[in-house]
């Protein structure tokens, strides 16, 4: 019972502490919120994607290529688990490094190098995610989009399948709102 009371007290302390986070400037905040949502979605991608048995090794390696577009908001994910795998964050710079990743987030700044990178990763079980236009169409697997200022998700199922990955229906539900867009 003592533990229960302690825990309740801790909860109350948390309750009181939160409202005092300093508000950021409006523009920055919007960008920030958008990146936060994307970062959160990465978790769901990891959750509903199945890698081949030999790739898992008990760790879900999330790699950022070309800098961190999430401005450190991805950081809390390190140490969490998904499907009973620990999540590891890495910054990668080369295609070779990227091969070892479970999920590779390609920064929009890497768009020019993408075709080459894509070729390198062909056949490798790396779930590729990015937010630049045409990523999915150019062989990327999951692409964040914006429709009416709202974040959407495109999935290139062919690319996913080609990489010996399996995505579950639940993931397709996430992408269902942009399914029609994916057709072209």
């Amino acid at each position: 019972m003592a533990i229960l009371i302690k825990t309740i007290c801790a909860g109350l302390a948390l309750l009181l502490a939160l409202p005092f986070s300093a508000p950021a400037s409006a523009g920055e905040n919007f960008q920030l919120v958008e990146q936060e949502i994307k970062a959160g979605l990465l978790y769901n991608f990891l959750k509903y994607t199945q890698w081949p048995q030999d790739r898992t090794n008990g760790t879900a390696v999330v790699c950022l290529l070309g800098g961190d577009p999430f401005d450190g908001h991805l950081q809390p994910m390190a140490g969490r688990t998904v499907n009973q795998h620990g999540i590891e964050l890495r910054s990668v710079h080369t295609a070779r490094e990227a091969e070892a990743c479970s999920l590779l987030y390609v920064n929009a700044s890497e768009k020019p190098d993408w075709p080459m990178l894509q070729r390198t990763l062909t056949g490798k079980s790396v779930l590729t995610v990015s937010d630049f236009d045409g990523f999915a169409q150019s062989g990327g697997m999951i692409e964040f989009t914006r429709i009416d200022k709202r974040i959407g998700v495109k999935i290139n199922v062919d690319a996913v399948t080609a990489a010996h990955l399996t995505v579950q229906d639940r993931l397709l539900h996430l992408a269902s709102t942009v399914h029609s867009l994916r057709a072209d």
């Binding site: 825990t7 959160g40 959750k47 509903y48 539900h173």
Partner: protein, 789 residues
């Protein structure tokens, strides 16, 4: 007041039976307790599943509620259309979860929940009705009606959720005390449900904000923050309880997954909804459909955690069931074993204690009844029973000996009794006061009284009153002591009186003896009436005989004495005639006169012998100690001429004794026998042996003491004459001259022997010789010492 008498066997039976019953009851109670526990745990297992189903149902209901509300509040067609498939899916989930939960609940018959269940069913049908209203209202443009429907819908579903939660709490309450671990598991579920609940509220609120595209009000933010705190706290509580109950290690991956998922989702929206004024360009960067999807996906993680914990709870309860079952089996085994042990101990008690005691008691009872007992002692046992049985065995052996002794005594007593009963003499036992104690059959016959009449009375009542003074005098003298007291009073003639009053002579012998009861006297009584009569008879006959003999002797004496005178005259006259007329008488007359003289001389001799014989019977014996050897020597001396003439020889034994006898008669006796022995002897050298034997058997087998004998080697006597020869004037060998015997010698011998009280007999063999045996002393009347034979 005394209860029923219980034997040792009954008591032991009672004790073992009671112990068995107690053991059985205790074990049965344990078994029953465990069986009930088993039932409770099974109920708990299904209750746990059911509680999860109810929990799931509330979750599904809240999702449906939120999506439906979002559709009703959607600002544009597109948003509503996007949410439509989610609503359909959610409705299916809700129906399924509620149906499963309610049907599972039907198995439990908790009265206080049945009303609640009824209400839930009612509200569920209300929700079903509202669903179509929601669908209709969704197509309407935004307005009051739409808001009213939304409001009713929200209220109805929330109410249903609350009722379902109440149901869950009420239900779980029944099982909260069965097992602490399972209770902790239920608490973990409770916290997970709280997380779901508050996440649902957050989802609902944020969904509403997204749909309405409005900034959260301070109240809403405060609501969100509070929910956040509760959720965070619930995560921690769930983990602590899981760790305490040992559940955590097995659910940890699911716990971290779910918690990661929720944290990630919270990170996603934290800056957007928990901070006022972050909605830029009048639009949230996330659509309601995506939001609901993300929320539902997060609840997937929670579901996985819940399922994992359900599985662990089931595993745990299963282990409880297995353990309890094992306990029941062990207890049942212990119960059976205890019963067997009780049975065994009872059997041992029966065999080792009760049966030996029974057989001992039986043996004792039989011994008491005097039956044959053959008790075998338990020699192999050293305990109380063994000792008891050995004691009993010793007792039995003693008893056997006692019985044998008693039987011997009995036999000897009955023997004695028979002797006493059948003895011809009367036997009376009297005590010191003279009171009769015992009176045998002979007494009854003698006196005519029965033993019953006689016992207890004074001995004197058996005697005529006139005799009493004499009896008293005798007894007093007897008791006064002296030799008589020691040797008893025997052979006293007394007078008895029969019951009929007749008096009779009796011989009484009294002897004193000591018995444990004191000094007693035995009186042996013999009716001597017959003996007296016989004695009188004998006396009469004897005197008659004596008179007759005397008359005969007198007659013989008178006759012989008187005959002598005429004989003398005949003899003298014949001689005178012969002498005076010697010349004148012719030869024939002379011969006749000589013959007459000879005959008269012989006649005189006969008369003299007869006279002598009669004198032998009449004269008293002049007894004196006499040396028999000297007597014979005297005889031999007087017969010297005669013996020499015949060339005869006499041999004497050395052991000839001195006897008290009439010497002249005994001399006569020996002279006759020796003369006969020589005279009737055809041997050239007649031999006569005189001897003495201490004992000698008569031809009829009777042994005689102190026997004299005279043995010759003469012609012998034929057996038919062995008696004849003792008769007076009886001669076996006729003589020719006047010197020849008259045949009275042996008659004299026999008479002399008889006068001395002795006996005479002979042994003879024709041609070889004769031996005369005789005794000169009277050793009692009749034949001597018949017993010695």
């Amino acid at each position: 007041m005394r209860g029923p008498q219980l034997s040792i066997r009954d008591i032991l039976l009672l004790i073992t039976g009671t112990l068995t019953l107690i053991v059985a009851l205790l074990a049965a109670r344990e078994v029953y307790g465990n069986w009930q526990r088993l039932r409770d745990i099974r109920a708990l297992t299904s209750a746990s599943i059911l509680s999860d189903q109810l929990f799931d149902a509330t979750e599904k209901l809240s999702v449906e509620r939120d999506i439906a509300l979002s559709i009703l509040q959607a600002p544009d067609e597109q948003t509503a259309a996007d949410l439509r498939p989610k609503l359909e899916e959610s409705r299916r989930d809700t129906d399924e979860a509620l149906r499963a939960g309610l049907s599972a609940l039907n198995r439990y018959n908790f009265p206080e929940l049945s009303a609640l269940r009824g209400r839930i069913k009612q509200q569920l049908s209300g929700v079903h009705t509202l669903r179509s209203e929601v669908d209709t209202a969704a197509k309407l443009p935004a307005g009051d009606k739409k808001r009213r429907v939304a409001s009713r819908w929200s209220d109805a579903v929330t109410s249903l959720i609350v009722e379902t939660q109440s149901l869950w709490i009420g239900f779980v309450g029944h099982f909260i005390n069965i097992d602490p671990i399972v209770t902790q598991h239920l608490w973990i579920k409770h916290f997970l449900r709280t997380i779901t609940d508050y996440s649902g509220r957050e989802r609902s609120l944020i969904g509403q904000l997204i749909v309405e595209n409005t900034d959260p009000s301070p109240r809403q933010i405060s609501q969100l923050l509070r929910g956040r705190g509760v959720v965070e706290e619930s995560w921690q509580m769930a983990r602590i309880l899981a760790e305490q109950s040992g559940l955590y290690p097995s659910i940890a991956p699911f716990y971290t997954d779910a918690r990661s998922h929720y944290s990630t989702m919270h990170d996603m929206i934290r800056d957007m909804f928990y901070v006022p004024g972050n909605r830029h360009g009048s639009t949230y960067p996330i659509g309601a459909d995506l939001w609901f999807e993300l929320s539902m996906q997060a609840s997937d993680s929670l579901s996985a955690l819940r399922i994992a914990s359900i599985k662990q709870t089931q595993k745990y309860t299963q282990s409880l069931i297995d353990a309890t079952r094992w306990e029941i089996e062990v207890q049942a085994a212990i119960l059976i074993f205890a019963l067997l042990l009780c049975g065994l101990s009872f059997r041992i008690i029966v065999r080792r204690v009760i049966q030996p005691i029974n057989s001992m008691v039986e043996a004792l009872l039989r011994a008491t009844r005097g039956e044959q007992v053959n008790f075998v002692p338990a020699r192999d046992r050293n305990d109380e029973i063994g000792k008891l049985s050995q004691v009993l065995h010793a007792f039995q052996e003693t008893l056997v000996r006692i019985k044998k002794t008693a039987a011997d005594l009995d036999r000897s007593e009955s023997h004695l009794r028979a002797v006493v009963d059948h003895m011809l003499d009367g036997l009376i036992i009297i005590d010191e006061t003279g009171s009769i104690r015992s009176f045998n059959i002979a007494c009854e016959r003698i006196f005519g009284y029965s033993a019953a009449d006689a016992i207890g009375r004074n001995l004197k009542f058996l005697m005529p009153e006139s005799y009493h003074p004499e009896y008293d005098h005798r007894i007093a003298k007897y008791l006064a002591g002296g030799d008589e007291a020691n040797s008893g009073l025997s052979g006293v003639e007394a007078k008895g009186q029969r019951k009929d009053g007749s008096v009779f002579p009796m011989d009484i012998a009294i002897n004193a003896f000591s018995s444990p009861d004191g000094r007693h006297f035995s009186a042996i009584i013999r009716d001597i009436t017959a003996r007296k009569k016989a004695e009188e008879e004998v006396a009469r006959y004897t005197s008659e005989l004596e008179r007759s003999n005397k008359e005969l002797d007198d007659f013989a004496y008178i006759a012989s004495h008187d005959l002598k005178e005429p004989l003398r005259g005949i003899h003298n006259h014949s001689r005178f005639l012969l002498e005076d007329n010697e010349d004148t008488l012719d030869e024939e007359s002379t011969g006749r006169l000589n013959r007459l003289i000879f005959l008269s001389q012989r006649m005189e001799k006969l008369v003299n012998d007869l006279l002598y014989f009669s004198r032998l019977g009449r004269q008293e014996l002049a007894v004196q100690p006499t040396d028999v050897g000297a007597v014979i020597a005297d005889v031999a001396f007087t017969l010297d001429m005669f013996l020499e003439e015949r060339n005869a020889r006499i041999s004497l034994a050395d052991n000839l004794p001195t006897v008290v006898c009439d010497k002249p008669r005994v001399t006569e006796l020996f002279r006759n026998l020796i003369t006969n022995a020589v005279k009737y002897n055809d041997k050239p050298e007649p031999e006569v042996e005189v001897g003495f034997l201490e004992t000698k058997k008569k031809p009829n087998g009777v042994a005689m003491k102190r026997v004299f004998f005279v043995k010759d080697n003469g012609v012998g006597i034929s057996p038919e004459f062995h008696h004849e020869i003792f008769r007076i004037f009886r001669r076996l060998h006729a003589g020719k001259g006047p010197e020849e015997g008259t045949g009275v010698g042996l008659t004299f011998v026999k008479k002399i022997v008889e006068r001395h009280g002795g006996e005479i007999w002979l042994e003879s063999e024709l041609g070889k010789g004769t031996t005369f045996y005789f005794t000169l002393e009277d050793f009692g009347h009749g034949e001597q010492s018949r017993a010695a034979a």
